[in-house]
Amino acid sequence: MQVVQADVVVVGAGGAGLRAAIAAAEGDPKLRVALVSKVLPMRSHTVAAEGGAAGVTRDDDSLDSHFNDTVSGGDWLCDQDVVEYFVAHCHPELVQLEHWGCPWSRKDDGSVNTRFFGGMSVQRTWFAADRSGFHILHTLFQTSLKYPQIKRYDEFFCVDLIVDDGRVRGVLLIEIATGEMVFIESSAVVLATGGAGRVFRQNTNAGTVTGDGMGLAFRHGAPLRDMEFMQWHPTCLPGTGILMTEACRGEGAILVNKDGYRYLQDYGLGPVDPWPRAKAMELGPRDRLSQAFWHELQKGRTIETPQGPAVHLDLRHLGAKKIHERLPLISEAAKTFMGVDTVKEPIPVCPAVHYTMGGTYTNVRCETPLAGLYAAGECASVGIHGANRLGSNSLVEIVVFGRVAGESAADYARSARATQSVQAMAEASAASFNALLKNDQGERLATLRDEMRDAMETGVGIYRTADGMRAACHKLAQLRERYRRGVKLDDRARAFNTEWLGAIELGFMLEVAEALAHSALARRESRGAHMRLDGYEQRDDENFLKHTLAHRAGDGVPRIDYQPVTITKSQPRARHYGGAGKQAVMT
Amino acid sequence: MKTYTRPVTGTWWTRNGFYRWYMFRELSCVFITLYAFILLAGLYRLGQGPEAFLAWQAALASPASLAFHVVALVLVIYHSWTWFKIMPKTMPRLPVPDGAIVAGGVIAVIAVSAAFLWTALG
């Protein structure tokens, strides 16, 4: 197989990966940075993010305010020292993106505009129309072209980490176009591979969001943290799950049920007036809004559409001008996929899985417990989101911690010692992936994959019960066994075999899904996005104010244990939204 | 990496309507060029004296020449139309909408042509 050397390998070329690669290259013009991605960088799922990126900007805002919003938004499961670092570094990173050409939307005087977002007390979300992720990604990708030290491996699929003696030694890749294996020898690897939302059936995610990096780390002993916390975005098109950005609500849109009633007022987010108002009604946090939908569904107050139950997201009162200027992408999508003209009709929406709060555990320097392995972005659990992520904290997370991961990895690479070759390990690993191509018996990929997604949707959904979660765990164990017995591919070619890659992705997804389901079963309380209906409906700080860690246990079920949460300035208290307040001035 | 390159043949433009109209636009230039040569010939004959010029005029009245001129007229009109239609694409954004630029050009052509006709016939 082809063997190459690099100082730092970044796996994943979305926002976090590109930022990490740029940070590593900027620090040292002689550093060899390999940027590996299974798709072209501009196809990464960062491109679909819409709403914006938060950073304390206005004079009437403060780091404490952003800190408090984030910690309470996370239902106090956040590591507060990390959140303090995070909020202090958001604004500089947003300015950096602006310097690199990101077309942030502006006020008339030419300064950057900010808008309200769910769970945020003050307008601090920078936005580029409703295509913020698209613009951030393209800005980062195009800027990365300035750095000749970054060598890109476009459409190379990372199938394994090569780890020897507890230290990372490199990555094993499949060159997708040819099916040939490539081993990149490196002592520092940054995982920036995104979330795992595709383990559920209805989700906003791209086909690439299959938890690959989480699976890679997990297989080599790095634990997955807080996996039970999956975010359902409350406003997505039924059926496809296509995202209708929170920014709609940031601009003043409302949610009504089949009776035209703004139902959120029944769920602790009211009163209705004055509207709009920070952290109230439709500007509440995502977990609360998705949970409200579930209750409306139980009460029979949702609207039936051919693609399933929905409520109405009404933008009409915003007016055509504002809609076309601030929300053009979702207007187009509503028209294309649902035939809805947002100026004249409300959009049918329902919750869909959107974001993975959990991931590979890292400290504030993006270090995982595995020496030389770093992680940033949605694939990591650095400690800022806790049990529920606030919208617009993720697009800024990827650049804040993307930079940290790149710098940390580069520092480590400079101090690493050269040791003997591990090519034999790479060859052995390659053999196991090549074997997948040759199975003559087994089940269809789609069968196993769809059964997994249905099991997750049913057993580990917005509201959970012990029975449901146990059934899901049981099913996942069965699926993993069936997967081990064999997936039979139609496609036996080596060149550009996406069915083969799909089978490898399924392997990662099954392990990540199992970690998720077991973590959920073990958490006997309700907090943030993890809600139970089986006697554990309340938050239990006494027993569960701690992070869940899922460890791989060979072929058996994951071993669950716990890790304390770091509390500094903000003692856990009840989570309040809605209530009285002034009407917000929209910008 | 082994790839397959599909050849592009000389009939590429027959593949869809957009391409066919494009080639028709380009073809119109041929007829405009030919017409320009006829006018130049007229100018040359004018320089050679009144009989030469009258002979040129008589030649223009032949059936073959009339047929050519009808075709050329259609193509010149099509050419002018497409010329103005794509003109906004050659300019930076202007305070005037694109449609106004196209309309302005077309109206100017009609106005100038009308003026010539009126002078010639009147």
Partner: protein, 238 residues
């Protein structure tokens, strides 16, 4: 349930000397996109059918293909609009085929890199000031999702693969027109070369097929004036 036949152009570099057709009968509901039709084939009929896709919402640019001879995105075009069919599905024109509907994108990536698509110049301490009016000058050109439909549309690119092409030149213009950038001088050689803007004969099909309204034809052709100015005034530059 209705069904439609998809005629797909297949090519396996390991076993095929040339591309061949294969037909699939796809049952569909009214809300199914062409991409979902291809996914149905891959999941249930023939797992070897190979195509790129990702976001499913026309923002990642992965799923471009020729649908009945027109360059389109599979995710935002619907099977119901091609009924009764058959629907001919081929890889994007003017690119070498790697496998089935997956084309070789490397030439485009090289062109993208060649236009220096990044802000050139020293930034101020805080954010630049840029009014909404200034942003309008370049914003539409920043909408490009790199889907390559314009390259599949452009006959000049089809006849001459050295032509820089619509999307790359539109991106070049996006940076030149951005008030924060000072790299116009550095990018002129790309504009001025024979395969730069002068390779374009304003067919205009690129702007017609662009799913994002970027209007690359305009980006390219405005720069012909810039190029001419640059040529004629070169003696006055010091």
């Amino acid at each position: 349930m209705r069904s439609i036949v998809l005629e797909c152009l297949r090519y396996d570099p390991e076993t095929d000397a040339a591309p061949r057709w294969q037909n699939y009968d796809v049952p569909f509901t009214d809300d199914m996109s062409v991409l979902q039709g291809l996914q149905y084939i891959k999941d249930h009929l023939d797992g070897s059918l190979t195509f790129r896709w990702s976001c499913r919402m026309a923002i990642c640019g992965s799923c471009g293909a020729m649908l009945n001879g027109e360059p389109r995105l599979g995710c935002e075009n619907f099977l119901r609009d091609y009924y009764p069919g058959p629907l001919r599905v081929e890889p994007l024109n003017h690119f070498p085929i790697v496998r089935d509907l997956a084309i070789d994108q490397s030439d485009f990536l090289a062109k993208l890199e060649s236009v220096k698509p990044y802000i050139i110049g020293e930034p101020p301490k805080g954010p630049y000031r840029q009014t909404p009016r200034q942003m309008e000058e370049y914003y539409q050109y920043s909408q490009c999702i790199n889907c390559l439909l314009c390259y599949a549309a452009c006959p000049q690119y089809g006849l001459n693969e050295k032509f820089t092409g619509p999307a790359a030149l539109a991106l070049l213009h996006r940076y030149n027109a951005d008030s924060r950038d000072q790299g116009k001088r550095e990018r002129m050689p790309v504009i001025n070369q024979e395969d730069g803007v002068w390779g374009c004969t304003l067919v205009g099909y690129c702007s017609e097929v662009c799913p994002k309204g970027v209007d690359p034809a305009r980006a390219v052709n405005q720069n012909k004036i810039e190029s001419a100015k640059d040529y004629f005034f070169r003696f006055f530059r010091r």
